[in-house]
């Protein structure tokens, strides 16, 4: 196994400075392939020593330098495919302001925040209820496996959230399974769950998603309600005779002011999207620190 570890370490060095998610992908792929190939090579020809077999395997897989350059190239091609904030590069301030409507990341962040109340609620409640149950069980003999299962589920949630963050916020997140070393028993796996920093960071993240997600969804709901009701103010007040209700007080707007109010509502939409994109970016960065193993 030492040869594979050495290879992986070299690959890690070669990919230094790369996106941590890319590094994880590369290490995962290489480890899986090299293990399988080495096992096959040794089974096929027994006259080779392990080192010779490993050299043959690497000859076909590629040296760490070659493998690293293959990942870097693909990564460069992908990022040039989706230049970040491509449509906001207009020379005119108005173009930049309204260009947000054509910015996929803003809409992604909008969706993410809209549903964050729901997902965050589920994560947070599970972390709270499951955590309390696991702690209660810890006074019994079966407490450790139950706590292990709970932590395992938290890591699972972290993976799921990672996919969501990548899809909607456009931040690269890991695709790596929870247990990197596979030939260990369940006892050691549970121990790993407890000792890995990653588990506790994921737990904190899931707990914090409860208030954070609710705040996101509330923000979207309130901001959208305000913008839409401003926009529809002339229709509501003149046709349906409905007053604008602001902070608990009903008020009819003077007719001359109605177009201004409506225009204000229209301007609020891109402002909301700009804010959402910024929040999404920040949340993506935060999720990456909490959920990706460095």
């Amino acid at each position: 196994m030492g040869y594979i570890e050495d290879y992986l370490n070299q690959l890690r060095t070669e990919l230094k400075g790369c996106d941590p998610a890319l590094l994880q992908d590369a290490l995962f792929d290489a480890e899986d392939h090299l293990r399988a190939a080495l096992a096959t090579a040794q089974a096929e020809t027994s006259e080779f020593s392990e080192l010779e077999a490993f050299h043959k395997v690497v000859e076909r897989y590629g040296s760490p330098v070659e493998t690293a350059s293959a990942y870097r190239e693909i990564e460069a091609r992908i990022s040039s495919f989706w230049p970040p904030e491509s449509r906001l590069s207009s020379r005119f301030p108005a173009g930049r302001f309204f260009g947000i409507f054509g910015e996929p990341r803003a809409w992604g962040a909008f969706l993410y925040m809209l549903f964050a109340g729901l997902t965050g609620g589920v994560y947070g409640l599970w972390a709270l209820i499951g955590g309390a149950a696991a702690m209660l069980c810890s006074i019994f003999i079966f407490g450790i496996p139950v706590a292990g299962l709970f932590l395992f589920s938290i890591r699972g949630i972290a993976l799921l959230e990672g996919r969501l963050v990548q899809a909607l916020l456009g931040v690269r997140m890991p695709w790596r399974p929870i247990f990197i070393q596979r030939e260990i028993g369940w006892g050691s796996k549970i121990k790993l769950l407890f000792t890995e920093m990653q588990t506790w960071k994921a737990l904190i993240y899931t707990l914090l998603q409860l208030p954070l997600g609710l705040a996101y969804s509330l923000f979207i709901a309130l901001a959208m309600a305000l913008s839409l009701s401003f926009m529809a103010a002339p229709l509501l007040e003149l046709v349906f005779k409905l007053p604008l209700e602001l902070f608990g007080t009903d008020a009819f707007t003077p007719v001359w002011l109605l177009p201004v109010v409506s225009l204000g509502g229209i301007f609020m939409l891109p402002m909301i999207l700009h804010a959402v994109r910024r929040i999404g970016k920040l949340h993506g960065r935060y999720a990456k620190t909490m959920l990706v193993k460095r």
Partner: protein, 121 residues
């Protein structure tokens, strides 16, 4: 001499960057069940008669980027006894793309062949 070898390598690499995706896509379109990386590499080797077109390690980032663009989908099988593996399969979008890529490939092949002086008709 060194320059020549480097230039050849570079040319091969540039060609591979496009063809690898096409080859992987058609291989997975023919596969009856999802395949993992090592299996794909082995299949390529056995079907091509060990033509050393590209390093096996370079296949993996292509697989991942194709999954990112929706041409392939994958799942990790967390087996208890052996190592968990990422199994890839082609998506409906992948099959559509393969059709148009095949057409592009045929046109490219014919075009190149005209200038290489091959006996095309």
């Amino acid at each position: 001499m060194g320059y020549g070898i480097d230039a050849n390598k570079k040319f091969q690499k540039e060609l591979n960057s496009g063809t690898a995706a096409l080859v992987l896509l058609s291989l997975l379109a023919r596969a009856e069940e999802p395949m993992y990386g090592y299996q794909i590499a082995k299949r390529l080797e056995s079907e091509s008669g060990k033509l050393p077109m590209m390093k096996q390690g370079a296949l993996y980032p292509v697989l991942r980027s194709m999954e990112n663009s929706g041409l392939l989908a994958s799942h990790v099988d967390p087996s208890i006894s052996g190592p968990p593996r990422r199994y890839y399969h082609i998506t409906a979008a992948g099959r559509d793309t393969l059709k148009s890529w095949k057409a592009i490939w045929d046109r490219t092949k014919t075009f190149v062949q005209v200038f290489l002086g091959g006996d095309h008709d």
